[in-house]
Amino acid sequence: MQTSWLPFEWIVALRFLREGRLQTLFIIAGVAIGVGVIVFMSALLSGLQSNFIRRVLSTQSHIQLLQPAQVTRTLRGPASGTAEPIEGAIVQPPLQQAKSIDQWQAVAGQVRAMPGVKVVSPVSSGPLMVLRGNATRAVSVSGIEPDSYYRIVDLRDKMVRGTARLTGSDILIGTELAGDIGVDVGDKLHITSANGASGVLSIAGVFDLGNKGANKHETFTTLRTAQSLLDMAGGITSMEVTVQDIYAAETIAQRIHAATGVQADSWIKNSAQFFAAVSAQTTANTAIRFFVGLSVAFGIASVLVVVVVQKSREIGILRAMGISQGQVLRVFLLQGGLLGLGGALVGCGIGALALVLWQKFALNADGTPLFPLELDATLFAVAMALASVTGLAAAFAPALRAARLDPVVAIRG
């Protein structure tokens, strides 16, 4: 009672917990293991997901804007004699020609002004042939504006040789293509397009996008060079967009489509399979967390039920000396909350330790961590808050039982 700043309920709850030392320690250990598992699993899963997303998004934009696909219109009206479409008509899909996005500068300005949009970068891309001696390779060229494009896909980070700086006569190629046709930085490449346009470009740098196919087929030039090679003077085939919140990409894409009429594909839509996997993983994780939480709750409740039985005579005495039902209720609720919080504190320590060990011992072949894990303070705060609330909830039934004890029966024992 030296702790004079504590109210009555806290003093009694803490003393009861201290008195039942062994019980308290065991249940705190039980809660700690549960919370530790939840913290470790949550951090692991979110680390895995964010690592995957980071990898996916380091080589692509969040939203890609494209010219709407051309469709065939079915015949209506006088030809069939009615205003209804002709039933059973054979509709041949049209050839999708490489067409520029209509009024793309205006569209780019409009998208750039939208809330949540970070960067908009025009790209003109198409197929080309690369010639080197007798060797010929089909590649895809992307004409980019480096300043804005590098804020979406930072090719500077991916260069293994040379530089990512582009002038009108430069080209960047992947490591696979460079090895395939035996070229390196400074060499000249002869480029031709299907429509007969051709030119000679100098290799400014060799990149590694982390994907063999991309390293073999992707090349980058300036927007103007690509436009002239692809015969799209002033035109672009797509616009790459990044947004502040990557998970809002689909909503923003829909907004862009509604406002501009261009086709807007978000990375979420394009990675539907990945999201299905994430969703399944999250569901499994949530189920595990729920059942671990439930077992923690039952653990706390069962201990408190025993405590109420053990303490029933003392509860009766407290009631006899004028302690209200509400005060008794709070004494036992507090014990539940404190057990939850205490267990969560230890559990967060266990979880953090497990995460540190995971980072130290789960390594790639090159000795780097399998994937980076972040010790997120929010996760720990949420785990502690949830464990305390679980403790309070679990304590409710035993606490109510304690509060409703008939003092006469309780004192008689």
Binding site: M1, F8, I11, E19, G316, L318, M321, G322, Q325, V408
Partner: protein, 232 residues
């Protein structure tokens, strides 16, 4: 007597009946129409054979249980229609209890046990309640033991602490259910004298159950409870 000295009346029972399992086939009436008045400063023993209803009477007066019928006034307040909150408040402020098995809270020291009723009523500990508890611990002769955990004290010492605790809120009446029943003769005598001393010095009313006729004879008044009826 009660009517002429109504300002001194601490407890008044009129036609109080108590039945258990009321309304069922197993209904048992334990007290049959008790009339009893206790005044300020009464030092009164309740005697009677086991099962006669002594403890039930004490529980009713202590507001731990409710009568099945009749009226019960404690410290001038009619209690039969009160809810649990009001009864608890009245009990906490005006009634002290001493039980046969002392029933101290073993997680607390002797001093803290004495402070508990005051702490429960005030919500937070303060220096005044500590001072009062120290004074009471000193009055029961346990100053040297004040910081000992209750569980580590002898039966006689624990009962002294229980008496100090019962007096903590300066109650008008202290109810004791066989306070000396679990003690050896010497301790019993010392505890009895302690109760008597508080009764004389502070005018606190005492009502205690005892099986010891010798103690009964040393009281101002003895109430015999036989088969659920009071014979004064």
């Amino acid at each position: 007597m009660a009517d002429t000295q109504s300002s001194d009346v601490v407890v008044q029972l009129r036609g109080v009946r108590k039945a258990f399992n009321a309304g069922t086939a197993f209904e048992t009436e334990v007290l049959h129409g008790i009339d009893l008045t206790l005044h300020r400063g009464d030092f009164c023993a309740v005697m009677g054979p086991s099962g006669s209803g002594k403890s039930t009477l004490l529980n009713l007066v202590g507001l731990l249980d409710r009568p099945s019928s009749g009226t019960l006034q404690v410290c001038g307040e009619e209690t039969t229609a009160m809810d649990d909150t009001a009864l608890t408040r009245l009990r906490g402020h005006h009634i002290g209890f001493v039980f046969q098995y002392h029933h101290l809270l073993t997680a607390f020291t002797a001093l803290e046990n004495v402070m508990l009723p005051m702490l429960g009523a005030a919500g937070f500990p303060n220096a005044a309640m500590r001072e009062r508890a120290l004074g009471l611990i000193d009055a029961v002769g346990l100053s040297d033991w004040k910081d000992n955990l209750a569980g580590n004290m002898s039966g006689g010492q624990q009962q002294r602490v229980a008496i100090a605790r019962a007096l903590a809120m300066n109650p008008q009446i202290v109810l004791a259910d066989e306070p000396t029943g679990n003690l050896d003769t010497r301790s019993a005598d010392s505890v009895f004298e302690l109760l008597r001393q508080f009764n004389r010095e502070q005018g606190t009313t005492f009502l205690f159950v005892t099986h010891n006729p010798e103690l009964g004879l040393r009281c101002d008044k003895t109430i015999q409870v036989i088969d659920g009826r009071v014979i004064e």
